[in-house]
């Protein structure tokens, strides 16, 4: 299946603004991140902590809904889903 991925801020240095990713049916957000990190290894520093877990402040929206409020990294993906990745800004 194909999903669309949008990236913002620092992640934009390693990913296109919007890209279509071919991924096997039944994949989760975790599978998608694994695939993205394989394609662009420096992404790991931005997305994952030392234990390889997602940095919790990186917002991941599936079709506009934060995966924190769905099933986290286990959130399932379907054909045509739009996944947006953005680390929020904090300064003022």
């Amino acid at each position: 299946m194909k999903v669309r991925v949008k990236s913002f801020a620092i992640l934009r240095q390693f990913l296109p603004r919007e890209t279509e990713v071919e991924i096997r049916d039944g994949s989760s957000v975790r599978d998608l991140l694994d695939l993205l990190v394989k394609q662009a290894p420096p992404l790991a520093n931005e997305l994952l902590n030392e234990k390889g877990e997602l940095k919790d402040f990186v917002n991941i929206l599936r079709n506009g809904r934060n995966i924190h409020f769905i099933s986290g990294l286990d959130t399932p993906l379907s054909e045509g889903d739009l996944v947006a990745l953005f680390p929020p800004a904090g300064g003022g």
Partner: protein, 247 residues
Amino acid sequence: MTMLSLVERERYLRQIPLLGETGQERLRDAAVLVAGAGGLGSVCAQMCACAGFGKIRIVDNDVVERHNLNRQVLYAARDHGLFKVDVAARRLRENNPWLSVEPVRETITRESIGGLVCGIDVIIDGMDNYDARYILDDAAFGEDLPFIHGAVNGFYGQVSSIIPGETPCLHCIVPHPPPPGDVPILGVTVGTIGSIQVAEAIKLVTGLGKPMAGRMLLWDGLMGEAEVIPVARDPSCTRCNGRGVAP
């Protein structure tokens, strides 16, 4: 609501065609809380003063330091060591003699927030940390006040208008804040984001346009890209639960 004077009409000559005299009067009758007098706070307060908001309460407990001057446009080199809100009040009054400025040398805490939002119509986020932003967000929902969130990091920035009863709260939009600490910031980024925040405040007070409600602007000055993404409520959120937009 009293009419604008002749001198006020002259001052706002170039924007009354946009806002109407009624819109301009609404701004004059509105009080904003500018929470923070740093990078975003400087720009927001300045833009509010220029636009003709009647009252600005500006809150910050810091003094001006040399490394503020790359982005905190209200301050000059000679202001080193002075309280930011005192300098800010002087500069804002110089810009707009009709403005009532209330400088408050305080830190935003759960204890101080009640007094800070008293009599306020719009809260503008000029904070540099999420602990304080969440306090403002809670006060906005408690007092039913719009809260215009803005944050920056380097060339990047974000803005969203949080409106109790209509939109998700900040806890829903940013459930896990980035790690605390100083981030690199450019004056141009706070100029961009702060200006957009005040545009939101002007729209909310005058009723013009469509606020960035339930949406967040993500600005990337490095790539020259802007995107507006939808933001949705956590169905289990107890702050905006039942008052936020339907998921």
